[in-house]
Symmetry: C2
Subunit: 772 residues, 2 copies
């Protein structure tokens, strides 16, 4: 992997600290210091106005704009939806003696920015040196409330260091935000009203008519308010405060903002306004201090059950907590209408769209930390089943074709080669249902909604596939698998295998329901029109699925003809040519035995228990040297398999990349936003990788190892309603239940009842490294 | 083939006649009644203004606009160029008593429109019944001068049938033409001046700054000019004539227009103006009658040496003459900066772009009718060699990568799957050079320009290809062959075979030059930096080229894995699903053993003499039933091979389609323009098909057969400077030289000296049908 760490931020176990301001890195920092609460997110932009390079991004989950797609054919999409940049509710301007604070223009010192994982806040401070010699210490703190999804808070403090006098603060809401990718502002303000100590505005998007009510109230403490004037402009509602500040004393300006998004096309503007104002009422009069306390309490609870501790490796300690922090910020399942965009709520890149990453990379984190969120993610797919069924008809198939990229369930990938050839979201959803069933065992969900999805997904795969004329076997022609460096191939091994698993699982759930839930089975049969011969057909397709396997070498062939693809030694590619997407002709990417991310190895991870160590070793040794990891999703899977086959150093190297991907800006594109779904894999990397956890076999299994660099590490898992702590040092493993009843877990192959006292076992280092 | 003839127009051996006006078919007729002279073309639109459905198209070869391409990667294009709709130099308005003639609004009778192949004119007549009871006979005649490429003429006659009185005629030039595909008018008029009896304007395109000077003069005869007023508007320059017309007497208004296009960016507007005015001077004072005489003389000469006569089949007689007429209208080689767009100069579809059709389908017609034009077409490729070399670098290759679609030599296909994966224009150019060399033997061209192209094309193919890891053979990965229903495949048999031929031919020309033209070889070696090891490498690549051939069945496999592609019985596809591009999901088109047009059969046609009758039969019988002929280029090739292997009925059925493709609107899209390059294949269909002509072996060969439906047919070929006539009836073949020296031709396998007296041989019907 041609990846180089960009060491810039301070290492600390519970925070990210930036000392001094580097305008060149401002966009990267804006991504890293982004805050979110699943409902909304803001990048860490300087809210006081910044004339330098900035991406002022404020996003709301599920709020979208639309644009037409040039040049379409039947079955390719005509327009796409994207998460639209929305109101800047942190909008602030600070002026002293006619001079306005602007970090691109002003002189300042003592700049420090801190993201605190336990407080859930971003704090920024600096001393502003005015042209007339005045020195004003300014701090900004912000939070996006995890308890109150519509609420955000901001605290500004002003402390004159060498004068007493007047400071002008303009604070409010701004709907004139630029959606950079489209070079356009999408919002019109259709109503604006003053409220007690603030104002409210209703914004509406140009093409989709999505609406957003935004309101704020201000509270000043410690200074003297000399004047307070309303500001009403086309896109801006605010308050001009004239404050008297006293030498050495701190004046506080607190802002509480409430935002309510509405994507429904049916409701009238006045109904949306009224709903928003009612929401406003729910947080009426809450102070910034109260929001702060709630926020810290929320995070305390999270860390109690979801923390991962690493002793002896401060960088990765910080990295993994940053990842866990981001997972919760991005999604925690309060709203089943939401999903997880590839960049979460931290930037415009990937247009806020959700991919197969959700079920494949993010779901395990939630399954073992927040089962409610896991269910909500699956619920999202259920709610968008109609869209998937419509999409299947668009491509001349039956059942449900889940979109490769979506914000609301409709397909929003404008590259036909991806949206029409990548079939693997459907099987990812099916795998997610299977996984959720195994770990959480939520049978009501499975028997009502899960099975309906499984039936419709199976129908799609039973109509999209075809019979090879020469082989006489079933499979998928004209597809792109997870490895996006093989653009249009036949019988991709991953797709074929996952389809086989899908058919088998759908049938097994139907079988299970015959005995356990006949009424529900009757209901779903009636609803879907399921016929017995379909079930027979799926069995037939599964039994005749073409799986490219070479008995002699034990290798699975990624697709028809892969082994004949021209070879390239990926280490011969100059580092300056990465990322290849930018440096190689588009068609050239697809003509080698070079792969972008795990494909065969992916199913060996997902159905790990079905493959022998020898099979994993053989395929890892064949495919890893051909993988350039151009997807950020790639290294963790390799790390987990490397750990399993005893390549411990390799496992650790891949792990480092995953854990600090954004903090060290490995991919040189953190400026665009965080790699949210791929940092989900960092969690898997520890728990599945070093923890050796396996959740695909019979019951849960653990087989911990520990990198030599670490003194000790521990992680928690929520399993069957209990919290299990796994603590590993260089000598022994301690597994115990810290909350709830005892649970049965396989540890190093031995199924054991884990109680509060837990069990202690030596780390069989040899077992891990012997295979080397 | 699910193709149905739309019988509408009158059948006549020397013209196309439309009796009565059908507004529903107006656009189809506008295409069929289009005129052109290689330099410019006009659709057969009603020039007097028509408020119904019309595509008012006026085009100039090589004159283009540009538009950006959405969403590009490295190696995919960023903008594309297209032939832009230009000045309406036929612009006319006729008003009587305030009522304006408009075939969508006016009452009229006796409508008749005639395209005359011998006069080279379109004539239209009707009687206009005015609301006030007046009846005015109006005729319009137009021509685009074949002798004077910049000149067009129009004659309008007015004959009052039941009154004497005043008629208003506005006549002039209009630059406000709409480019329909883009929904935009691209022209600004930057200069406008009055001339004697007319005016001149200089138009300029919005993005590319291409310029067009257009001027007209008017001449009235037979009536009394009561008034003549200049009209000067932003885009319009004209003359308002007030004419007194007398009962039963004919008043004639003649217009001569001169147009001069300029695509150079260097020259100043005033220089362009001056050049245009100078051109104008060359045709100064010429009358419409003189243009008519010149035009008829030109066509008489063409028919003398290029006519094909069919006795006993009036429909195909008309059809083939229409095709020959169109070939000359579209291109006759006056300008080596021009090429042949897929729709010629008859519509916006395919954007006026030239494809591999030029060398593969059109070149043979010119080789045997107009060798100068054949040379000009190859010269076009030489002039755009720099563009092709730049394009090769864009896709990370060396040498020259000729564009799949172009107007000026730059790539203008915005679908990467075509522009990056279809490699076969380069080999088409090489094949064209080879073919031109065999038939015309123009060594100076070959040794200077041809060899330079061959070297650069070979370089491209030597860097774009790769070695199969398993096969150890060379070939092309990630390509689309001529059959566009297999989107991205490896080792397409056509591409591999044509590359092998390319390498071998390039080497053979170098070998030839070592003895015959050492100085020229030295020059080209210096210019291109050709190295001996490159030549060795090309030999090595050619020798190791992977050609998929099954010894047992004698079948060539279209590409790796084609024989395993899922089978579809193409006859099971409902006729309502054609064209499949419009009715099937885009990705679905590419997942069957269904082909769009000949691919394996294509190289069996091009290198016909290298394959045994058995090989042709086996491959025809395998591929033809899998071919849906969705390309209009397809049927002729099948017809030719069907004739060769004795499937005479099939050959005739395919032939009918090719010959009357547009006259009978088989593809239901003639409204967009004529299938110019595919009607070139209609000529091949007779000469190579029924005439059994072969030009790829040693010397020229003939093996005529005759469809049972015909009494007799004859065609002419220009060969080695002589004109050879081949006349075939149901009993015998007569081959003779009608102009020039005797030539040696193989007839039915026997090489014979053909003299003026010629030879007469019986048609060996059995030899053709015996193989059935």
């Amino acid at each position: 992997m041609a990846k180089i760490a960009d060491k810039y931020l301070q290492v600390d176990p519970w925070s990210v600290v930036e000392e001094g301001f580097d305008p060149e890195r401002n966009r990267v920092s804006e991504s890293i210091f982004a805050l979110g609460n699943e409902y909304m997110g803001v990048r860490g932009y300087p809210e006081e106005g910044y004339s330098g390079d900035t991406l002022l991004g404020s996003y709301f989950n599920g709020l979208y704009e639309e644009m037409p797609v040039q040049g379409h054919y039947r079955g390719t999409i005509r327009s796409l939806r994207f998460m639209v940049n929305a109101v800047d509710w942190l909008y602030t301007r600070i002026t002293v003696d006619g001079e306005q604070l602007d970090l691109a223009q002003s002189r300042f010192s003592g700049f420090r920015r801190v993201l605190d994982f336990r407080k859930g806040t971003v704090h920024r401070e600096l001393v502003w040196h005015l042209n007339d010699g005045k020195e004003l210490k300014v701090t900004f703190e912000r939070l996006v409330s995890m308890k109150r999804s519509h609420v955000g808070g901001q605290r500004i403090t002003l402390t004159p260091l060498n004068f007493s006098g007047t400071v002008q603060v303009r604070s409010g809401l701004d709907f004139a935000t630029l959606h950079e990718d489209q070079g356009r502002r999408f919002w019109a303000v259709i109503r604006q009203e003053r409220t007690l100590n603030g104002a409210a505005m209703l914004g509406k998007t140009a093409n989709t008519g999505n609406r957003l009510l935004s309101a704020y109230t201000l509270q000043v403490e410690g200074g003297i308010v000399l004047g307070s004037e309303p500001v009403e402009q086309e896109h801006l509602a605010g308050t001009d405060l004239t404050l008297h500040v006293e030498l050495g004393q701190t004046t506080i300006v607190d802002k509480v903002a409430v935002n309510a998004a509405n994507v429904s096309a049916e409701e009238s503007d006045s109904a949306v306004w009224d709903q928003g104002m009612a929401l406003l009422g729910q947080s009426d009069g809450i102070s910034y201090d109260e929001l702060r306390l709630e926020q810290a309490a929320y995070w305390e609870e999270i860390w109690r059950t979801s923390d991962i501790r690493i002793e002896g490796d401060p960088e990765n300690q910080q990295g993994i907590r940053f990842c866990i922090f981001q997972m919760y910020q991005t999604y925690h399942g309060d709203n089943p209408g939401f999903n997880i965009g590839a960049k979460g709520l931290t930037g415009e890149a990937y247009r806020g769209l959700a991919f197969w990453d959700t079920e494949t990379y993010c779901l395990p984190f939630y399954l073992f930390n927040n089962p409610k969120a896991a269910k909500s993610l699956l619920e999202f797919r259920y709610r968008s089943l109609d869209h998937a069924m419509e999409r299947a008809r668009e491509v001349d198939c039956e059942g449900a074709f889940y979109p490769i990229a979506t914000i609301d369930g409709t397909e929003s990938c404008d590259l036909w080669q991806h949206s029409n050839l990548q079939l693997h979201v459907g099987t990812a959803v099916a795998h997610g249902l299977w996984h959720y069933d195994r770990i959480v065992g939520d049978k009501p969900f499975l028997y009502e909604k899960g099975i309906e999805m499984l039936i419709q997904i199976s129908r799609f795969y039973a109509t999209r596939g075809q019979w090879g004329q020469k082989s006489g076997q079933y499979g998928y022609f004209g597809v792109m698998g997870p490895d996006e460096f093989q653009l249009m191939v036949n019988n991709n091994c991953y797709i074929n295998l996952m389809a086989k698993k899908l058919f088998e699982y759908t049938r097994s759930v139907v079988e299970e329901m015959k005995a356990a839930a006949p009424q529900e089975l009757e209901a779903v049969t009636a609803k879907t029109g399921l016929r017995e011969e379909e079930l027979d057909n799926w069995a037939h397709l599964a039994a005749n699925m073409k799986i490219l396997y070479d008995e002699e070498t034990g290798l699975y062939e990624e697709h028809d003809g892969f082994f004949d693809m021209p070879h390239i030694d990926i280490h011969s590619i100059p580092v300056t040519e990465f990322p290849l997407y930018s440096h190689w002709s588009y068609d050239r990417l697809y003509r080698y035995d070079m792969i972008k991310q795990p494909d065969v190895l992916m199913f060996m991870f997902l159905y790990n228990s079905e493959y022998s160590p020898e099979a994993k070793r053989a395929n890892y040794e064949y495919y890893e040297p051909r993988c350039i990891h151009e997807s950020s999703l790639s290294p963790s899977i390799h790390s987990i398999l490397a750990a399993e086959i005893g390549r411990r150093e390799e496992a650790y190297n891949f792990f480092e990349f995953a854990t600090r991907l954004d903090l060290d800006n490995y991919n040189r594109n953190t400026r665009e936003g965080l790699h949210t779904t791929s940092i989900a894999a960092a969690w898997m990397n520890i728990v599945y990788g070093f923890g050796g956890m396996r959740s695909d076999g019979d019951g849960l299994a653990l087989a911990p190892s520990i990198p030599q660099a670490w003194d000790e590490y521990s992680f928690n898992m929520t399993y069957q309603g209990s919290v299990v702590e796994v603590k590993v040092d260089q000598r022994q493993v301690h597994v115990r239940v810290t909350e709830g009843d005892s649970v049965r877990i396989q540890v190093y192959g031995e199924t054991t009842e884990i109680t509060n006292a837990g069990i202690q076992l030596p780390v069989p280092a040899a077992a891990v490294t012997a295979a080397e």
